[in-house]
């Protein structure tokens, strides 16, 4: 599979905007108003998208202080570029892209050699299969029933944090954005400049690795 740069996101046909369930004006209508200088319309767009953008910025930079600056920069940048926005793309995807670029620039300034990360050797845990392709018993203990009882345990929370921190960064970000924050594969691909198959593949491998770690946690005798 190619890990090259993603092509432009799929162009969606321009169709009439779906009415929103909450009766509020849709993004496209607000963007048109904001493009004509309506600051209140822009404020509504900010209010609508700030939480997801915050999660993206937080996951990419790993720091709340950086996320705050990324958010400020991204929304201001979006405002300044608003005249260039054309309705073919989703406004949210366009915003994600702006915020992701801002986060990447910030990361590059902090780390001298960002590309070294892409080459780091990958050692992700995963299930064990027999030579014939069947699951080994060690990979199939059923701890899912115990998951609820121990859900709130501080030890479990710590184990999850550690396991997620240990994922390679590219995998961690995709996993957090999708399974924790609920972004769509398309938005993640756009923001991180990945193909959709690359997003799906990283996501799946991250889940497999985390499943192994959680299995180890649940198989340990309770402390």
């Amino acid at each position: 599979m190619l890990y090259g740069r993603a092509p432009l996101p799929e162009i969606h046909e321009i169709t009439p905007e779906e009415p929103r369930a909450d009766g509020q004006p849709g993004d496209r209508e607000l963007v048109e108003k904001a493009q004509k200088g309506d600051g209140a319309a822009f404020a509504m767009l900010v209010e609508r998208h700030q939480r997801q953008l915050y999660r993206l910025a937080l996951r990419m930079t790993g720091s709340e202080a950086d996320a705050q600056e990324v958010l400020q920069e991204a929304f201001l940048n979006a405002y300044q570029k608003l005249p260039l926005f054309r309705g073919e793309a989703q406004f949210s995807s366009w915003l994600y892209r702006i915020a992701a670029n801002s986060a990447l620039m910030r990361l590059r300034r902090k780390r001298r050699a960002p590309d070294a990360l892409a080459d780091q050797p990958l050692e992700l845990a995963g299930p064990k299969f027999s030579a014939e392709g069947y699951l080994e018993p060690t990979s199939s203990s059923d701890w899912s029933q115990r998951a609820d009882e121990r859900m709130m345990s501080g030890q479990l929370g710590a184990a999850i944090n550690k396991a997620v921190d240990e994922l390679p960064e590219d995998y961690r970000t995709v996993f957090l954005l999708k399974d924790v924050d609920g972004l769509s594969n398309e938005d993640i691909a756009t923001a991180l400049d990945l193909t959709i198959p690359a997003v799906k593949s990283r996501l799946h491998r991250a889940r497999l690795a985390l499943r192994e770690k959680l299995g180890e946690f649940f198989d340990e005798p309770a402390k």
Binding site: E47, Q50, Y79, Y134, L135, S140, S144, L208
Partner: protein, 102 residues
């Protein structure tokens, strides 16, 4: 042409698409057929789903209110007509909240 799934490895490989509901119907059917005959894979599906649920639960974060306020103030100073929507609705600050720079 529907190919049967004989090995758990194929089943595991398709799981991401399966739980997202994006697997083509014939592959989803083949996967379910395998699951009906393979208890280890049933367990695998359960723990795979539980992994997502537990991680979501442990790691989900909402944007802090203070950050919403500071973003709003930042933009209000730079975007003409930007309305700080929360200003009117916000109650008196709680005793422990830090005073914000104006």
């Amino acid at each position: 042409m529907t190919a049967e799934i004989h090995h758990c490895k194929e089943c595991v490989d398709l799981l991401g698409e399966y739980i997202e509901g994006t697997l083509p119907p014939d592959r989803a059917k083949a996967l379910e057929d395998h699951l009906s005959l393979c208890p280890p894979c049933i367990t695998f599906v359960r723990t795979y789903k539980a992994t997502r649920k537990l991680c979501h639960h442990a790691l989900v974060r909402d944007m802090p209110r203070e950050l919403m306020h500071s973003l709003s103030s930042f933009l209000a100073e730079r975007v003409p007509g930007f309305k700080r929507s929360e200003d009117e609705t916000v109650a008196a600050p709680a005793a422990d909240s830090e005073p914000k720079k104006v």
